[in-house]
Amino acid sequence: MIRKELWFGFILMAIILAAVAILMPWSNMTNGHLGLLMLGLVVVAIMLGFPTAFTLMGMGMMFAFFAYWSRSDGHSERALQQTLDLMVQSTFGVMRNDVLISIPLFVFMGYLVERANLVSKLFKSLHIALARVPGSLAVATLVTCAIFATATGIVGAVVTLMGLLALPAMLKAGYDVRLSAGVITAGGCLGILIPPSVLLIVYGATAGVSVPKLYAGAFFPGLMLAGLYILYVIIVAKWKPHLAPPLSAEGRVVELPAATREINDTIGTRVFPSLLVALKGKRNQVITTKELMKELWISLAPLLVFIVIMGLTWNALTKPNEIQDVSGLEQMGAVSATENTSSSLAEPPGTEVKEPTAGGVEEPPGTEPAKEASIAKVAEPVVEKIADKLPPSTAPPRDPTPKSFWIVFAVGMTGLVVFYAIFTYTRLEIFKMLLTSFFPLSVMILAVLGTILFGLATPTEAAAVGSLGGFVLASVYLLLTQPREKIMQAAKLWIPLWVVFLVSVFWFIFYKSEVVASPPTEWMGVLSMVAFGIWAVVAVIQAKMLATVRESTYLTAKTSAMVCWLFVGSSIFSAAFALLGGQVIVENWVLSLGLTPLQFMLLAQFIIFVLGWPLEWTEIIVIFMPIFIPLLPKFGIDPLFFGLLVALNLQTAFLSPPVAMAAFYLKGVSPPHVTLNQIFAGMLPFMGIQIIAIILLYVFPAIGMWLPETLYK
């Protein structure tokens, strides 16, 4: 008796075997056909469930040996030696791959952030903040998922956590079971696409596309997909309110602290004017000035941030050219240092083609001043040195402020005025909640992403700094769970250390934005670094971070081993496939079909979609991308654009039954009467949206390609 779940797999397997058996020209097999046979066999072998990395390694080795042997006129010893060389070279190639190195770092960041335990805060604050939106709970779930999944990238953990937090909330509010399940599973998978995601690194490493470009390209499609999900939920909530009823009145109530409630009741509901009135003296004795000042500072924060950012931008835009040159030069100098050293581990007679990945990073941000800088640099290298030494007072007058700056400024100011006009105490409370959950995480993600996209740092560097950021977040949140006196005690040590650390950082920022003339002195920098190091040790002790770091470390090792060993296996396998000449046959066959680029694209995406059922995304990318990528130039398709479509496409693999793992994670934490079928049914509309998103991206490639094209001209 075979269980019905097995039938699906067996049928798939039988189809593949039958296709291989029929298509093979058994009477006159060439090595190339053998390569195709190997490809068919490997899919079947993977479906048997043996660890894929070793399936690939073993099969690759056998076929590589055969390929060498058939060329060597029976010198089996030489063939064996060549096979061994191939294996060890492929393995070493993965070990010194400077793209894959960012995987452990991003994974580490994800585990640290996951353990910071901010997801419940994030969800609660977002759901109150979004209370007025139709289907608010579902929308809040999607937004939480998008942010949290982006930061962690661990589908299982995000779906489980949201299943524990959001599913009860939605069910209690009378949401439809299927809609709730669909929202959680679809939202949990968003981290696969929205950068910084591991999938894009794996694709970049396989296809030789620069990771920053992929990140830039996937940014808007990721946001678009999340946006489409949210739009769908809002439409459903408006159209069929019984599926997603609006929040009840008590669900929306925000508790105000004593001080602000007092002002709210006696003086006025709007924060800004009433606080000023209260400060002037018209208030109850209960509230201290200190408390009022605190509220005032928090409410002023958006304005201050806006002014600082606009001020720095204005400074950067209008500063005279000579000084700009120095920073441009320095950036290039630093970058060229990277360029020189990056190849040092590569042995001179390397077998692989050097990937063009570094190219994206090296280009300076494509702004106007940077261009001028490089022109001026060529013309007069001496001037810059002089400009560096000259005091700022003798610098030439500032450039005129561009009009666009004033437009942005005006729009921003209007926005702020509107914001303060409707800024009530309730909203202040919501703002505070967001300040402690939503903003730290999104600022961290944007900082990591921003530095990569603008070419300020390589993905590896950004990932490492992101991991440190994750460590900081986790330790702060873990500290906050401790009793109050412990927090105060820790703060006495933490704050001075952070002040020392931040001195250099701000000094550096001000130096870069030309507010200060000289860079931070060396002793100050060293002091800052030491301060951070001491803080890290102190944080591990005081916030009891050791267990968190240890667990994250071990998990990182296991996840990296899983992905990178797969790379080891697949690089041996791909080498064997290339040796056998399978690629040539595939190419000839595809070209003989006389497809248009559109047809080819559809075929490729369809194959990937079908493979998404039995295989995981890692396997699909590392095994099949090396076959598709060489075909792309023949059809004039940009590998970058293809990668974006693949990334969107593989999203559906996570939601397609019967192997959608997101569904199983959700089932594991949902009440017993929620069936798998209900969850699958809930996922279907979201799968539909994913397909719409793929079509949208194909029809309007600018959604993905605009940002990389603008940034890396």
Binding site: L165, D176, S344
Partner: protein, 206 residues
């Protein structure tokens, strides 16, 4: 028997976990280098090589550790629906067909690769070079560990075929530890069970 199996598991785990800490080293090394290069403008040539080495050690040495925790990615369309006996039989055959030849070859090739490098005292190709042969030694070492762990897994398959169920492994930190996540967000099983009334009520309405 179980004692030996667990003993080998422990060795793989121990080595893997020690090398796992290199991710912390990697984080701080790059963090320091970023600060040093961008803020202080004093880049170090060897850091790039060192970070690649740390990364290589991290994932290579964790290979056996991951295998001992059954953590390598498997094609899961059929496997989890098989009975343990079928799983073990398939695994056993494939360990002999794919795993053993592949890993033995890799270990052997890695050993010669390392020895060639040691003979010429190979160094990295940069302004301030680091010795390269210890890094190459990682390949045979990781391969050997993996081989040992693979033999243990083969024994496990045999045990499973005889007994009809998989022998136990030592517990380890898991990526999705539902119990731990429940504790983290403070949700209890009763709370989840209590939710059933909403699900059932919604079902009855239709």
């Amino acid at each position: 028997m179980q004692k030996i199996l667990i003993g080998v598991d422990k060795i793989s785990t121990w080595v893997g976990q020690i090398c796992a800490w290199s991710v912390v080293g990697l984080t701080f090394l790059i963090g320091w280098e970023v600060f040093s290069r961008y803020v202080l403008n004093t880049p170090h040539g060897w850091v790039l090589d060192a970070q690649i080495m740390l990364y290589g050690v991290l994932f290579m040495m964790a290979g056996a550790y991951t295998l001992s925790k059954n953590g390598h990615v498997r094609g899961d369309v059929l496997y989890s629906f098989f009975t343990p006996r079928t799983q073990a039989t398939l695994d056993l055959i494939l360990y002999f067909v794919f795993f053993l030849p592949g890993v033995i070859a890799l270990t052997y090739a890695g050993w010669t690769f390392f020895n060639d490098s040691l003979k010429i005292n190979e160094q990295t190709f940069s302004a301030d070079p680091l010795p390269l042969y210890p890094f190459k030694f990682v390949i045979p070492f990781a391969g050997g560990l993996l081989l040992m762990q693979g033999l243990v897994e083969i024994v496990r398959c045999v045990i499973c075929i005889r007994q009809g169920e998989w022998p136990s492994r030592i517990a380890d930190v898991e990526e999705v530890d539902v119990a731990k996540l429940k504790e983290m967000v403070d949700v209890k099983d009763e709370d989840i069970a209590a939710l059933d009334k909403y699900v059932v009520a919604a079902g009855e309405k239709k």
